[in-house]
Symmetry: C2
Subunit: 499 residues, 2 copies
């Protein structure tokens, strides 16, 4: 059977991915500082071997032959996902990939230097070069997939994402948020004047924070026989499904940012740990995409860990691990006020869940126009500023460092990725709403620190489904309806609204 | 130039070795317990890719073509070592390698189970199967290299090791030790009756022991920008030269075994860190072999760290890191009495440096006869017991667990390896003697904790030479004479003898 050739290929690629994932996590956590150059060399060689094996011309024949074979339903799905990966990996000519890699590497390096200086003008030509290549790539991917150019870019990150659908939900969300942000800020101001923010009572020793983080991970279902927590400069969730490498970082003057970060990454980790093990060497066995992945981290962070029910369970744990006087005089309302603070800001990665989507929608709108050619790179600063003023009432025109230069995505050539963040937040809210229908007891379970039914529901609906369906179909199957911004809006209203 | 094909091949193989080394070290230190199965799968796939690339038929042509090219002297040496690796990797037919791998894996698994039970009779057929394959392998390697069968086995671990030479030095050493062990025990008994062993004053917290170990590593020259220390069940020195992964283990009732283990592994690490970086992707750039590697660890452990000069420098460090009352009333003589304790025992890995060579010589003598067919596997217990009685005056006839079943080497098919241990001890002593000639000040430098000249001498004579020469030639060049057991005998006499 030809299918076995694909199966064997999958095992070879899985081994190389395993090595690259663990080497990547190790680099950020345990590698000696002088080991970086050889590590980069080794990983680049391994990535080259991966690419050569994943794009071998005979794979096209194997896929065609396998389609005609007597396969199980799972094997048929596996062949379809092998084909998707193969087309995605081979639709760009080698010559183009080399040009693009060289250009984005140069542009990223330049960006690291120039962002700190806020020097947009010097950076402009490099970004123009990247955008020209992205337009070319979008065209090549469009031809290979039959999709529209920007759809073809998004489809790499979340299969099934289409401008036609996202325009609708983003427009809905944007018009809601333009009014809702002022409302939430108003509510917050009134609450804080009645009940001012309380000071934290640090220092919080790292070893104790680590134990608290491990307790939080354990509580929400992290499997420590298949993963661990370490320290890195930028927190991430990496490794492989059988050995998930999560990281966090600590500051000793406060503990909530590390704890919330740990809970966010645990959401990613649970998805990986919950994927079907018998498919781990097939593209079909992988997590569906970036938006769905983000929905799982945001589910834990936003739907669970920033709720009052969660803190009814978890506040005593904080006391247990950090000590009686860790939070002098705080009750649940004080914690929630701290972790759910809303603020209009320049920086996407620092934004709260109310203002965050506006940062994303701004980028999505600009990206589409950059890819279509309706917007030129030189026009970005003005276009960015106009939208920041319109959506958040703040100006970045004199501050490109905290405006269009703040993210690595564009310098790195990652266009079509931004929507996934807000898609993730919306999916998380929609999953939460559906879950509350199925588990009316969900709030009580959270208060009791019992996440078993909550996780079983997610395992059945999402984790075990791996890449069976497109992102949009997976949402529909898991929640009973297509993506609908109302659930996220309702979530925000109930947490931040005036009623 | 064809040489570049070998150069590129070296870079691909280095990347796979890098991955395998770091994945191996990671498995023992940071991997989640449930990650083992997938890790084994990934490493086996990567090892398969390594083997396929390292044994490709066209490499033989590249080597022949490169020999005719206009190469630098270093490149010529590189080609010669490429050829040595290639012959070693290709001289066994694939069919044979598969049979041998299957047999040794089964035999090792069986051994793990049966050793604990001391069940030699059940284990016998498996070991007979392994020995039959080892005889076949020795014959195949002999044909490929033109060496005698057992020489061909040893040559894998230490190029240039020959029975003709080793027989002479081992006979010399054996006849010396048969008299010297009783003498050393007698000296020790008299010393201990005059000055009894003092109790340790634990517990010694792991975190403090770790800091002490790091201080010891730093003192003798470990480069922490290119390596680190972690914990594992079996201590090792792994990783890659630019990122050496050392491990130790701790017990809290004493600290000397971990400290001595750390110093031993640091000796291995210094060799790796001192290899020429520009050759790291050539076989020529690797450490010469197992005996030379062991000489570097034993140099630090036996020539430096178990000497009174070292402790003059290091005892105050122990007090600094473990506290004033860590060693109540101990002086240097007490430490030396503790770390240089001699005892006749059954177990090689627990043996002191006086009795250790007799364990090795016993195995070497039996191995040669097993490979030649002069000894049958079923005769091992009696032969082992007879030699144990003759060399150490103890019997293992009723105790196969602590007799011929104690080591993993034979169950795993590693014949020809044992001599390297004692070769290492002799080379270390010979290097020490040569160094004292060149650096008459060596003792004073150790007392001052200054290892810079000592390490520079080793870097020049050994580390930077990598695999330029055979083990025996490297010894001769580094010390000015061929391997000579007198230096090791003198070392033992001066440390343990009656005068």
């Amino acid at each position: 059977m030809t299918f076995h050739k694909l199966d064997d290929l999958g095992r070879r690629l899985e081994a190389l991915e395993h090595a690259l994932s663990i080497l990547g996590a190790d680099e950020a956590t345990h590698m000696a500082v002088g080991g970086g150059e050889k590590r980069a060399e080794a990983m680049s060689q391994l990535a080259g071997m991966y690419h050569a094996q994943a794009t071998a011309p005979e794979i096209a024949e194997w896929i065609e032959a396998a389609k005609g074979e007597d396969l199980t339903d799972d094997q048929k799905l596996a062949v379809a996902e092998f084909e998707r990966s193969y087309v995605s990996a081979t639709c760009l000519p080698t010559e183009f990939v080399q040009r693009r890699t060289a250009a984005t590497m140069r542009s990223e390096q330049l960006w690291r230097d120039l962002r700190a200086k806020g020097d947009w003008d010097t950076f402009l030509p490099a970004l123009e070069g990247v955008v020209a290549l992205v337009r070319e790539e979008a065209q090549l991917r469009a031809e290979a997939t039959g999709l529209a150019p920007y759809d073809a870019l998004m489809d790499q990150y979340d299969p099934g994402n289409r401008v036609a659908d996202i325009d609708v939900v983003f427009a809905d969300l944007k018009s809601f948020l333009k009014d809702f942000v002022p409302e939430a800020l108003d509510v917050q101001e009134r609450r804080l004047s009645a009940r001012p923010r309380k000071p934290l009572n640090g220092p919080y020793p790292i070893e104790k924070q680590r134990e608290l983080g491990l307790a939080a991970m354990r509580a929400v279902g992290f499997d420590f026989t298949h993963g661990s927590l370490a320290i890195s400069h930028h927190p991430f969730c990496g490794g492989v499904p059988t050995d998930v490498r999560m990281t966090t970082r600590y500051r000793t003057d406060e503990f909530l940012s590390s704890l919330m970060g740990v809970l966010h990454e645990t959401g990613h980790a649970l998805y990986e740990q919950g994927l079907p093990k018998e498919w781990s060497h097939w593209p079909l066995g992988k997590a569906r995409g970036m938006g769905m992945h983000e929905s799982q981290s945001l589910f834990v962070e936003m739907q669970l860990a920033r709720s009052s029910e969660f803190w009814e369970f978890f506040l005593p744990q904080v006391i247990q691990y950090l000590g009686d006087d860790a939070l002098n005089g705080w009750d649940i309302a004080d914690v929630l006020s701290e972790v759910n603070h809303v603020e209009r800001g320049y920086i996407r990665v620092d934004a709260d869940e109310v203002t965050y989507p506006l940062h994303v929608i701004l980028r999505y709108e600009l990206e589409k126009d950059l890819v279509s050619g309706a917007l030129q790179v030189s026009q970005i600063p003005e276009a960015w500023d106009a939208k920041m003023q319109e959506y958040l009432g703040i100006s970045t025109i004199d501050n490109p460092k905290d405006g269009p230069m703040q993210d690595v995505h564009w310098p790195g050539g990652a266009f079509g990725y931004f929507p996934s963040y807000t898609l993730g937040a919306m999916i998380a809210a929609q999953l939460g709403a559906a879950m509350r229908n199925d588990l009316p007891d969900m709030g009580a379970q959270m208060k009791a620190g019992d996440f078993s039914q909550i996780n079983q529901w997610r395992a059945d609906r999402v984790w075990s489904q791996a890449s069976r369906y497109s992102t949009s179909d997976l949402v529909t199957r898991a929640t009973g309806e297509p993506l609908n911004a109302d659930h996220f809006k309702n979530h925000l209203k109930s947490r931040y609204g005036s009623k």
